[in-house]
Symmetry: C2
């Protein structure tokens, strides 16, 4: 939530303005329903000469039943533009981007997709290639701000050897699952992860633990993981009893009441489990907003304990007893406040920056065990919490992003489901914002 923006949006004239904003109508975003095709129109492929991802992508799309074309439709109507930029080995070749995107910039349908595929600068063959590959980020982020109409734009860096690991990510990014994800940089590692037997039920046979599952984003996560085939254990504090039972019921899962900050909580959870988990989602989180000058010690401590210390301790307890299976995944829920900081949220921002730290510091060790760990960082998501915000602050948060609207809990959940897919087994240490490309950054 833009603090500086918010302070003027909450001023006398600001309040009036926000009501009368007269912005273009926020586009209606394409969101996923089971059975939907991946895109609504053909995917136009482009490539800089010498790239290594064009062929694998073409085959993958064809097997997935997507119409992939090399010549643009005369009247537009493309569902996506995918450009293989791995052939850009030096800065003078960046003009290939212009050659592809200039003539096709207006050819996308609403909620279309732009995906640029590159080589991670750290894995490039040399300095000039690394420089040019790093430059791609400026293009994709600018396109995300420029194209509008619900069109998202991402940069996907694929490690050499990761040519066979792209499918879960392309399916996520092309589909309505990624409706509110834009301007992101995603890294896919080397390897050949197993394809799910059924891409409609990628999580079949997997057991997922979701903390804070009684309400809001947590409930949406439980529902989406269950929809995708997972057995869900919905966890929340005892006070959330009825709501928690309701969610567990909806998803035909189990409810487990536990205060994760209580001493020995990790051990209690470990004894509750009848077998190892495939998916652990640390969604439970609280806010206690106050400037640090006015914050009491309990307000600091409780936020740190719930949002950061508890996930860390739960990971330790589960991993100590091998209760996360090889091939499994752990997902932390960070926040754009943990990236950009926020006025009145020193506690929350510290905890959420710590979640990013937990993901980044754990990833290498977990990779050796065949476990991935990633974070989502939600921006403005429409929940009971944001519904209580003052109208102008709420409108500011909603509008100040490339989608000109707030996201939905399901958007966060879909991103987590993508991380949890068996096909995402080479994706680790990523922090992906679900923020509609919010202006608020670091």
């Amino acid at each position: 939530m833009g603090d500086r923006y918010a302070s003027f949006a909450n001023s006398g004239p600001g309040r009036g303005l926000v009501k009368r904003l007269g912005l273009p109508d926020p586009p209606r975003l394409r969101r996923y329903r089971p059975g939907d095709p991946l895109t609504e129109g053909p995917v136009l492929l482009g490539a800089a000469p010498g790239g290594r991802l064009g062929d694998p992508v073409r085959k993958l799309l064809s097997a997935a039943g997507v119409d992939a074309i090399d010549e643009p439709l005369a009247d537009g109507g493309h569902g996506a533009l995918i450009f293989d930029a791995t052939g850009i080995t030096g800065t003078t070749k960046l003009s290939e981007l212009y050659e592809f995107f200039h003539p096709n910039a207006r050819s996308l349908r609403r909620s279309g997709r732009v995906i640029v595929l590159g080589t991670p600068p750290g894995s490039a063959a040399g300095g000039p290639e690394a420089t040019a590959q790093r430059a791609l980020e400026g293009l994709t982020r600018s396109i995300g701000k420029e194209f509008g109409r619900g069109i998202t734009s991402q940069l996907v860096y694929v490690d050499p050897g990761g040519e066979g690991a792209l499918e879960s990510t392309l399916r996520f990014l092309l589909s309505g699952r990624s409706a509110y994800v834009s301007g992101q940089v995603i890294r896919v590692g080397a390897g050949n992860p197993p394809a799910p037997a059924d891409w409609q039920l990628p999580l079949a046979g997997r057991t997922a633990l979701v903390t804070g599952a009684a309400r809001g984003i947590g409930a949406a996560i439980a529902r989406v993981l269950a929809r995708d085939g997972a057995d869900v254990i919905a966890l929340d504090v005892p006070q959330a009893g009825d709501a928690l039972a309701g969610v567990a019921n909806d998803v035909r899962g189990r409810a487990f009441q536990l205060d994760l900050t209580a001493p020995g909580a990790g051990e209690r959870l470990a004894s509750y489990l009848s077998g190892p988990l495939d998916i652990v989602v640390h969604n439970a989180g609280i806010t206690r907003d106050r400037t640090i000058a006015k914050m009491d010690p309990a307000g600091w401590q409780s936020v740190l304990s719930v949002n950061l210390v508890a996930p860390e301790r739960i990971n330790e307890a589960l991993l100590a007893k091998d209760l996360v299976r090889s091939g499994g995944t752990i997902v932390g829920v960070a926040s754009i406040a943990g990236i950009a900081g926020n006025r009145g949220q020193t506690n929350y921002a510290t905890s959420k920056a710590g979640v990013i730290g937990l993901v980044q510091s754990s990833a290498p060790g977990l990779l050796a065990k065949g476990i991935t760990i990633n974070a989502v960082a939600p921006g403005f998501i429409e929940t009971a919490m944001t519904a209580k915000m003052p109208v102008t602050l709420r409108e500011a948060g909603r509008r100040m992003n490339s989608m000109a609207q707030g996201g939905l809990p399901v958007d966060v959940a879909e991103t987590i489901a993508w991380f949890a897919s068996p096909g995402s087994a080479t994706i680790t240490g990523n922090v992906v914002r679900v923020c509609g490309q919010s202006l608020l950054g670091a």
Copy 2:
């Protein structure tokens, strides 16, 4: 420049609002004049138990004539709060931050300073320490947004072994030189760089090349480097002749007219030089703003050529002939548009993201030669270019940051002078924004 914000700020009601903003008066920022003390009040030191930087910092400040105290002044009036967080080896110890900043949050003078010192997560002794150290970023960025009154807040990660390498950075951050730098994460490497004989003239005896030096930010860079003791070679295109001669004259330096995009420009520059350079500042840059749909090929190409390809080629030419001395530094000028992307600037953002790529991909190889390379990323800086922007877009750019105003060319120049100091010889691969902690991020 907030594109989404700008589009509504330029709408009918937005235009009225921005005029009547009624925001708190932008604070008058403390800026450096030679002879100024580093701070205007005593520096309050704090530390988490077990930290390794408290003693070196205390000695350094004392030698620099700064009053460093351990007990807060009863009525406030501190010039800075410096907290050594290197003792925070796990997330439960993050409460040390609250213990220090809560009681002292209101004790700073206008244009005061908050500096948190930590250990780079990648250099931490283990996962728990890495997680906790990463969390510091959420705190410092939130404080930067919370404290107001021209107070800046930074996180400085100091590699183990870098305890003796802090002075140039603390001098920069405490002083008025860093007036418009806030919310940044800086990394100081291990080593014991030489202290300048005179901290008032840290660049004495050094030769600096500044490209695009005829006007605006480039002219300010030439002046600040010269003020700090450097011999300056001011370079610009032949068409800038008179303005360039004026700047060179002002700084008692040399003017060199050269089109850096011309074939053989690197070689012409190399032959012009009578000896190796200590400081190379790639400031020359242009914009040709258009959406990519409307952009002509020349608009794409010229921006990429001037902003990215030329610096890359010049580095190659200089380094091939050993024309950058060991102990020297190279500085690229990126932009927040290169970090966050910007509507209408696919070319510019790509070029500036590429500048970041050039810095990051070159740093390891150059370190082996004793040369550092870093980038500044300016936000909204008051120049002839921004003066021509529509009033509402200009006001938006000016206000949407923690300083509630635009920066000055001198702010960018001071940051470059800090990178160029002999005392900064262990700082490389950094990208530091000079943006007043602009909301616009990645």
